[in-house]
Symmetry: C2
Subunit: 138 residues, 2 copies
DNA sequence: TAAATGATTGCAACTTTGTTGCAAAATAAA
DNA sequence: TTTATTTTGCAACAAAGTTGCAATCATTTA
């Protein structure tokens, strides 16, 4: 378990530190996306705010975690499933935000539809965020 | 021209003030989405930061403007085309963010595809954000 | 296994972004 | 024109995020 987490870090050429292990564990045990504030709370302020910012940034750069677009100004992070390669995210799944409980899910099994763009535009990534009620709140 | 803008404000039961007219004009003359900072710059700091925040908030509430989800933590605003009714946005179009120049476009003519969600989930809104290169940068 | 190297952390200070209360000013109504 | 209501700008604050730097920790090498 703990070894598996250390493995992921090593595979991404990251040194294995307490904060990285703990934060990565949080993501693996959560079935929803996490905000910076969630992580700060759930680690019971064991780590400095700055460390959490930097860890998340590193994880995004390494393709361990991806950010989820939201209409409000909050930033959400979620595990990339098949461990995207550095700078090459290919998390082609839909995100679902529940209006009631606020939970954000990665709907891994629903693939992003192809979206047409006008002449001259080139698509590199397509993000789909669905909002409404999740199965627990409906 | 100016009258048309005043009309929109009156139609939405808003009193016609300098800041509201000027900011609404900015949106109408821009073919892309605007961030709070853009507006602050483009009004050459004629209005207080707070006024701009409050004006944008009011416009969103009235359905004159809508927010666009982004992967970074920035909030973008764009004109609602057919002047959504209060609280009832129905801007079912795709948003495109150019990775090179950073411009965000509302692709008015491209409709959002229907996205399946798992059993028990209820869809209320679907946001699609495509990123890549726009026609000017490709 | 211990010392040396290099990366990461925590702290402090700071910037940027967004919010709130309130008096003054502007708009709309009478 | 006067009155009532709304909006604005200021000040002060709160939250979110960033940067430099010394101390600490992880990894490498001998």
């Amino acid at each position: 378990m703990k070894n598996e987490i250390a493995e992921i870090l090593k595979r991404n050429q990251l040194s294995v530190t307490d904060s990285r292990q703990k934060i990565l564990e949080l993501f693996r045990h959560s079935n929803s996306a996490l905000a910076h504030a969630d992580i700060e709370k759930q680690t019971s302020e064991q780590f400095d705010r700055v460390t959490i910012y930097r860890t998340l940034q590193t994880f995004v750069e390494k393709g361990i975690v991806h950010t989820i677009p939201t209409t409000d100004n909050s930033v959400l992070y979620a595990l990339c499933k098949d461990n995207c390669s550095e700078g090459h995210h290919h998390d082609d799944h839909v995100h679902f935000i529940c209006d009631d409980c606020g939970t954000t899910y990665c709907l891994e099994h629903i693939t992003i539809p192809k979206v047409e763009v006008p002449q001259g535009f080139i698509t590199k990534q397509t993000d789909v965020v669905v909002s409404g009620q999740c199965d627990k709140c409906s």
